[in-house]
Symmetry: none
């Protein structure tokens, strides 16, 4: 997955396009001269010319020999009503995201809107690409699942461009702290809390937790995990809390689990997993360790995905709105688009614990 081959003139072009979006330059303005930009970007004048040439071809700029280069007025559209909504998720193919997409698509189709889809693979650079691509043509509104929401927002300028252009948008699952638009999410802290309360009520004391810490969902689920302990006046054994990132998810949590499970004493009797995907992997690890679920080790997942019931031992997990979230996001967004909403408010879904056969005692 290496695509570092972005030509300079393309970078220049995108940078300049960003100026249009965020209002650095306005229609009618005189652009800096080719030579000045060349020096500012550290490229040759020819390279700037190539970028300008494409932008002129696309109608963003108009050049007048001897005078300078000007920003074109936003082509007063063909008057056509745009009925297209963008959806940017972190992943498309994995896990619960297809259900979110599905819910959104169904709701949009029933309203006569088209769905533009893109994904970021949890990479902020790709998030930028996706936003720029969507902004390149007319758009009614946007639904975005933030990328690595716990780590800041380098694409803030593009979100401001959205607001500048009056395109409403909604966040899914988490909100960037820098922004204040509406957001639909689950009460992840409560979910973590419910999971641990359930296990404590079953008599478990050594409960290990595995959380992905580069998005707010993991952070909040861990927060709930700790809160449940506090409620009981218990202290958490630090080495039973495993934190990892997206990049590490293929190995670190599995290896750590294997190490924890092979302990002679102090072996955890229950695992709280960041999501069902990890839970299923850890159940496999448990089997390989010669232990069984739920007799030796109880397991709790998150999201109530299809994986939860595909395995032989059905997984105890917490619900996630999934397709309902996609659907309601669209409904809220369409009301914002149609201007029928004064102050859009997000929604906090309350997760429910589904007790199946992976927890006991």
């Amino acid at each position: 997955m290496k695509e570092k081959a972005v030509p300079k003139y393309m970078q220049v072009k995108q940078e300049i396009q960003a100026w249009f979006h965020n209002g650095t330059v306005k229609p009618g303005d005189l652009m800096p001269s080719e030579n000045e930009l060349a020096e500012r970007f550290g490229v040759s004048r020819q390279t700037v010319r190539q970028a300008f040439g494409e932008l002129e071809g696309e109608g963003w700029l108009s050049r007048i020999q001897g005078k300078g280069t000007f920003v074109s007025a936003p082509q007063a559209g063909h008057g056509e009503i745009v009925r297209t909504v963008g959806l940017i998720t972190t992943y498309i193919s994995d896990y619960i995201f297809p259900h979110i997409v599905r819910g959104a698509e169904a709701a949009l189709r029933s309203k006569g809107y088209r769905l533009l889809l893109s994904s970021t693979d949890n990479d902020k650079g790709r998030e930028r690409e996706a936003l720029e691509m969507m902004l390149g043509q007319p758009l009614s509104g946007l639904i975005i699942e933030p990328t690595k929401s716990a780590e800041g927002n380098p694409n803030l300028d593009l979100y401001l461009a959205l607001e500048y252009r009056g395109i409403p948008y909604i966040m899914l699952n988490e909100q960037y702290p820098e922004l204040d638009g509406p957001c639909l999410k689950t009460d992840d802290a409560l979910g973590g809390c419910l999971a641990v309360r359930h296990l404590l009520a079953l008599g478990h004391e050594k409960i290990a937790g595995f959380f992905k810490m580069d998005d707010m969902q993991g952070v909040n689920r861990l927060k709930g995990f700790r809160q449940a302990y506090r409620e009981k006046g218990l202290a958490i054994q630090p080495d039973l809390v495993v934190q990892y990132t997206t990049e590490e998810k293929g190995a670190k949590p599995l290896e750590t689990a294997l190490a924890l499970l092979s302990r002679e004493n102090g072996r955890p009797t229950a695992l709280v997993c960041y999501n069902d995907e990890l839970a299923v992997q850890l159940m496999e690890i448990i089997r390989q360790s010669g232990l069984s679920v739920p007799e030796d080790v109880a397991v709790v997942g998150f999201d109530d995905s299809s994986l939860a019931t595909a395995t032989e031992t059905k997984l105890t997990t917490l619900t996630h709105p999934k397709s309902v979230m996609g659907q309601e996001a669209v409904e809220l967004l369409l009301r914002m688009i149609e201007g029928k909403l004064s102050k859009p408010k997000g929604k906090l879904y309350t997760p429910e614990l589904i007790v199946r056969s992976s927890t006991k005692r």
Copy 2:
């Protein structure tokens, strides 16, 4: 006599345009290389490039790195560049379809195209809705997975509209018999054949097959199923072939399997399942019948989905290109869009048998 103000690149451009008009070159032709023209016109390669660049922008030429410059088909371009590709699948959220979408999205994003997504839920009415919606605004091309491809095509008029408007399209998985566009699919008959051959080689004789018959994939997989029997000179026991439709898939195959497995004598020793999804469900049925996989009953699935390895008993299954199919569909479509393909041809993927622990003896 100061009319010498015609730039060289403009003269070159006009000269080349004359070739289009007087038939010196025809659409699809390969233009002489930049270097050759530069020499012929007595100008530098850069000057030729500038002329070519404008002609490309106006739609006369298309350039392919490494191959050459080609004369475009005369399309009544509104000049406006549309870079949006539609993708219509039967389902979005389930099974292998997210992977196809993912492959397509990644390929499109890297080429600067946007992806319009819709789904039909395997319903021809919704397929019509989706097509109409996509046709409602400018579109570069379309990738479609046919709905119930074994049952005819009531939306033929819309496909003809696509051709009339010069919008290229590609079929996935199956092709409507009425149409003859390019199609990417797997060799499902071979897949069915491989599955049965494998089981016969293991000594199984009573092999039951479960096939969804309202799309061509199921029909072809059954065809391969029967062919493998013929090769061995064996006859198929008719009641071991279970056919069902999308609407029946929730109950009929499961109930029939339960009935077959509870037979005193004549119980099948192996099941060939339309796909992994059904295979996992049938493995559950087998467990409920007090039997085990693969000791009592062997199971073969199709598509090598994530379900195949999520279960305790890993599933023997046949590969499906999945995301590669989405990616290659996009690559083919973009070449068609850019007019760089004279006669687009589909592709037939060869499935491979992945032997895991669900087959034995």
